[in-house]
């Protein structure tokens, strides 16, 4: 057993874990953070995406011991204490960016990572930015719209509450 101390969604946890424990299993089974899901066995689907030290990673492809001393943000750490959704969550809700919802936790975390670097991404930049996340329901169209709307909402350039595809106009 190896000791890990990790800050997850603002709370410090110290635990003894087997070295082979994947970060996603530590989050789900030890901490009960079942918002982060597992969708594949091959590191491809991205549904397990969390932020590790502020950067998106696939938590199925990181050992819990590798996260020792780091800060982890999961989908459960985004909303405010009073339940107000994070702007990215709100935009997914408003833009109907989910159907079954299985990919959504990972999509939202990947979007947060992308928007932190590029607050006003073009459609192409969004599509490339979330290439590590697979959605089997939506066809991505509304996910792309949601991410662009969230970017506008977070950078204070929103012109209306609904998603528009005309990012150039908003940028100008």
């Amino acid at each position: 057993m190896t000791q890990v101390s990790v800050t997850v969604d603002g709370v410090v946890y110290t635990d003894e874990v087997e070295a082979r424990t994947l970060l996603v299993h530590y989050l789900r089974e030890r901490l009960g953070k079942v918002g982060t899901v597992v969708g594949c066995d091959t590191s491809n689907c991205g549904s397990c995406t969390v932020l590790l030290g502020g950067m998106s990673v696939k938590s199925c492809s990181v050992l819990a011991v590798q996260a020792n001393g780091s800060e982890v943000t999961t989908i459960e750490g985004l909303a405010a204490a009073d339940g107000t959704l994070h702007p990215v969550q709100q935009a997914f809700y408003d833009s109907h960016a989910l159907q079954c919802g299985f990919c959504t936790p990972g999509m939202v975390m990947a979007s947060c990572d992308l928007l932190a670097e590029n607050p006003n991404p073009s459609e192409q930049e969004v599509r490339e930015g979330i290439e590590g996340n697979l959605c089997r329901c939506t066809g991505y169209q509304n996910i792309v719209k949601a991410i662009q709307a969230a970017g506008r909402a977070m950078s204070g350039t929103a012109t209306s509450s609904t998603a528009t595809s005309n990012t150039e106009a908003v940028r100008a």
Binding site: T2, E18, A19, R20, T21, L22, H25, D41, T42, S43, N44, G46, T49, L52, M55, S56, V57, K58, C60, S61, V62, L63, V65, Q66, A110, D113, L114, R127, E128, G129, E131, G132, N133
Partner: protein, 285 residues
């Protein structure tokens, strides 16, 4: 799935790591970014009894200038490689190819040294190292040595690293005056590995190619140099016809695999088409 049990060691210096690998014995494995190793462990295709995590060794990270070369620590992540000003300036081929590796999540953790050590013939970075004549710095129980990229990739997932040896840094000569480069990747969907890709580095002189280095990804069990194309390009004018003619030699001496993504003859065709595109794009930079 969950990996089989292993002991975990996290050294904080290269010396400690070499010591740890040496004392752990044959079934130990080094862990870099884990983006190839953890999927393999999860699928239980490998059962190391000890993992030596290089993630805590600061001296393995970062990029520095050293006379006519840049030196990249083996644990420098793909993400850091794509952003580093020295790499953009002196090894733009590496920056461009690394941007095509996996996705943002994979690039945040995966490392340059891990990609080279893994030596997947579909990997993009072994081809870049070979094309740029990189020198690989290695530390092991018998001290340090330097291996030229052309002597490093021996076979499918097999390198010249001896048991107990760790890749510590990669030295890449600065792209010379008048040289330009391009990486042309062909894959089916975003995030996917190369079906075939071509790295081209060329020096133009008076509207013609004076010298070139052409590397091929996934045209055999290791990355390859297309030496027949390099020869045919000497003096070729930069026109689609002349470059296309020289590129028709791209499949010579290769041994392309046949798999779900394509048969060998399809890959041979791709190699020619992509070489032409890569050389033209490099020459027009």
């Amino acid at each position: 799935m969950i990996p089989a049990s292993f002991d975990y060691v996290r050294p904080s210096s290269i010396a400690e790591a070499v010591q740890a690998v040496g004392s752990a014995g044959e079934d130990a494995k080094v862990l870099a970014g884990g983006q190839s190793l953890l999927p393999v462990l999860r699928l239980r295709m490998s059962y190391p009894d000890t993992l030596i995590d290089l993630g805590g060794i600061a001296e393995l990270r970062g990029v520095r200038e050293d006379a006519d070369a840049i030196v990249i620590g083996s644990m420098t992540t793909h993400d850091e490689v794509t952003r580093h000003p020295l790499i953009k300036q002196y090894a733009p081929l590496l920056a461009q190819a690394t941007e095509t590796v996996g996705d943002r999540q994979v690039r945040h953790l995966g490392t340059f040294g891990g990609s080279l050590s893994h030596a997947d013939p579909a990997g993009d970075l072994p081809t870049v190292a070979l094309t740029l004549d990189a020198q690989l710095h290695v530390e092991g129980p018998n001290g340090s040595r330097v291996i030229a990229a052309k002597d490093f990739f021996l076979d499918y997932l097999t390198t010249a690293l001896e048991p107990g040896e760790i890749l510590t840094a990669i030295r890449i000569p600065k792209l010379g005056e008048g040289w330009s480069s391009h990486y042309e990747k062909f894959n089916r969907v975003a995030q996917a590995w190369s079906i075939v890709s071509v790295a081209a580095v060329v020096r133009r002189d008076n509207g013609a190619i004076a010298e070139s280095k052409i590397g091929l990804t996934n045209m055999g069990s290791t990355p390859l140099r297309a030496s027949a194309v390099e020869g045919a390009l000497v003096g070729a004018v930069v026109s689609p016809e002349a470059i296309g003619e020289a590129s028709s030699h791209a499949a010579e001496g290769t041994n392309a695999p046949s798999d779900l993504s394509g048969r060998a003859d399809y890959r041979n065709h791709l190699a020619k088409v992509l070489t032409k595109r890569a050389v033209l794009a490099a020459a027009h930079r």
